[in-house]
Symmetry: C2
Subunit: 420 residues, 2 copies
Amino acid sequence: MMSYDASELDPLLKKTKAASRSYAILTSGKKNEALEKIARQLDMARPEILKANRQDYEEALSRGLSPAMCDRLLLTESRFSGMVSGVREVAALPDPVGTAVSRWENQDGLVIEKVRVPIGLVGMVYESRPNVTVEVASLCLKSGNGVVLKGGSEAVRSNTILSQTIWEGLAEANVNPDGMAFLPWTDRKVVQDLVSNTTLDVVIPRGGASLMETVVSHARVPVLRHDQGICHVFISASAPFTMARDIAINAKVNRPSTCNAMETLLVHEQLSESFVHPLLNILKEKEVTVFGCPRTRHLDPTIAPATPESYATEFLALSMNLRIVSNLDEALDHIAQYGSGHTESIVTSDVFEADRFLREVDASCVMVNASTRLHDGAVFGLGAEVGISTTRIHARGTMGLPDLTTTKYLVHGHGHLRGS
Amino acid sequence: MMSYDASELDPLLKKTKAASRSYAILTSGKKNEALEKIARQLDMARPEILKANRQDYEEALSRGLSPAMCDRLLLTESRFSGMVSGVREVAALPDPVGTAVSRWENQDGLVIEKVRVPIGLVGMVYESRPNVTVEVASLCLKSGNGVVLKGGSEAVRSNTILSQTIWEGLAEANVNPDGMAFLPWTDRKVVQDLVSNTTLDVVIPRGGASLMETVVSHARVPVLRHDQGICHVFISASAPFTMARDIAINAKVNRPSTCNAMETLLVHEQLSESFVHPLLNILKEKEVTVFGCPRTRHLDPTIAPATPESYATEFLALSMNLRIVSNLDEALDHIAQYGSGHTESIVTSDVFEADRFLREVDASCVMVNASTRLHDGAVFGLGAEVGISTTRIHARGTMGLPDLTTTKYLVHGHGHLRGS
């Protein structure tokens, strides 16, 4: 662990920014070549990377970090393979840089083009998951951005070796490695200094409440938050039984440590007996801890009570709330009060209910008859994602390659003047 | 002038946010009806509004505010008419809310729509120009957003009567006036408290360096800056004489108090005699004060010297820098060093130079053979603009109605699960 010397940060950011300018004008061919070299270097360094990651993981376990955090930290063999193929998938994605968003002529024949250009220098602040290092480096390179990566202290061994491997791939392709900086310091003061340095053009934080608070309080550059997901599934009275059961279970247990996992299930009161009873048995089998509303606890008094605090909790684990509601309005009110604006789903066969839910729920993704776990760039067919943005501007919901660009107007005149 | 009681702000914002939810679901017809009522109320209140504005203007003159600020403050008869017709133009614009950005199916038949929805509650912090009050209120209403307007203390009489008039129009159309708040307090502490209140979804500051610093230092919500324009025109050796002269003059004198006016003219050295000499005479006639580089002062020693400070100044007045450069590279370097990323133009007949300029200049709008003054939503044919954004994310350059929306994914499944 390197000790942090604040005077080193600004020069490093300036050097990274300067090098990032050369990324903005790389051809797609060159960027794809560099990504392929990075993928190969990762494959070659696989044993050393997994070894370093295992050390991080074991230390995290021994330090008593939450099971969700430890799970996200771990690079299994299959996650490693997924990480490497992710780099090749980014290479296969269309390059957004230089594509036209629109082109038109005004009434005086002035030709106006709005084209995609890189944002510039992206700051990424994240916790735990070391594969984010590779994902974000790949996406930033492909979109022509420089990037400054600040991972969590718990993943510092993994991130150090991953960054060295990425640099080797870049150098092999004759791309300046200086456009990608990895901050090795584990001091949280680094985050404060980073997000208040206006050499960055944007900062993207992914992590828990404490990290978000640090970033939002100190940021002097635009922030695209990738915040917690307190996601709900509402089972309407008209929901088909099997579909409702499968979606509720999938949304909770498929991968509970992710932000798009369900935290609270809302069930219409008509289904108290027919649906909730059998569901509670399945949840017990799956070792899910349930916090129940009074009506749920009336069905099974062994269940712990749900509270305003548990409704506002992102468990990131095999725990959930279950609340029986009187109608759709009560479900909508609950979501408006406790939802984090991430992903919300209704299971229903009633088209009017579906329409109301889609229109009235204010979230980055609103679903009908689908598991919240499906809110994902790859599942949507958009390719690798930077994360799921809970910011209302620039990019909302799953954020992919084009969302790492901004636009520039190109205007072609032949002597056009104003007001004449 | 009302004295500011900080405890009143948060309840006001919460009330505005609550009312803004009803704006999100207004039909286009209802929003257009309200805009028409506002336009009529403004027409009826014209004499009182112009009288209040005249008081603001005279006080500003007597307080010795800058001529640029006084100019922007003044509602002339023609500016007033433009302001009212602007409201009707917003009514005529297509409603972005509910329009699809894209729609597709993933490989499993999940239907994904990305549709435009209002951002929510917009905070607008601005100086001087009272017509911004009406423009922004109209644009926010049409895009389904609530808005909190904080104008400058110098325009408080104008803004107070304008806001009352807008409320009357809203009430007449049975639209809840509470979704539009106008902060009457002139204390700068109000700006700090406003931008740090997360009831706002976004804040848009338009104004000078001091206002920007206050907003950026205190903001806890996303900021879309509408910052200063230090815009350049570069006259290449190949530029047609008349076109170059007309664009240089138009960019400076058409309306010098605006952000898209030219502050510095860069001229290729081959044109020192043939172009700069006659241009200096015209600039003298137009009463433009020129700060010149050493080579310019060699042509006319009566000219004051340009300095790093003058190159970094947004004059907003009939003043400008003139620098003779050796080649395109020197012009590009000057723009990279001093430009504010707003609007940059080249006058040239050489296609290779034009292409390099368009590609290499990093600004929200890059032009060939056109006056920088043309970077404007109305000129572009986009309708009324919120302003010209110098932020690199969400909206860059002229920012119109669709830029006041965000998106939401609507996902339609029929029992879709993850990983099965």
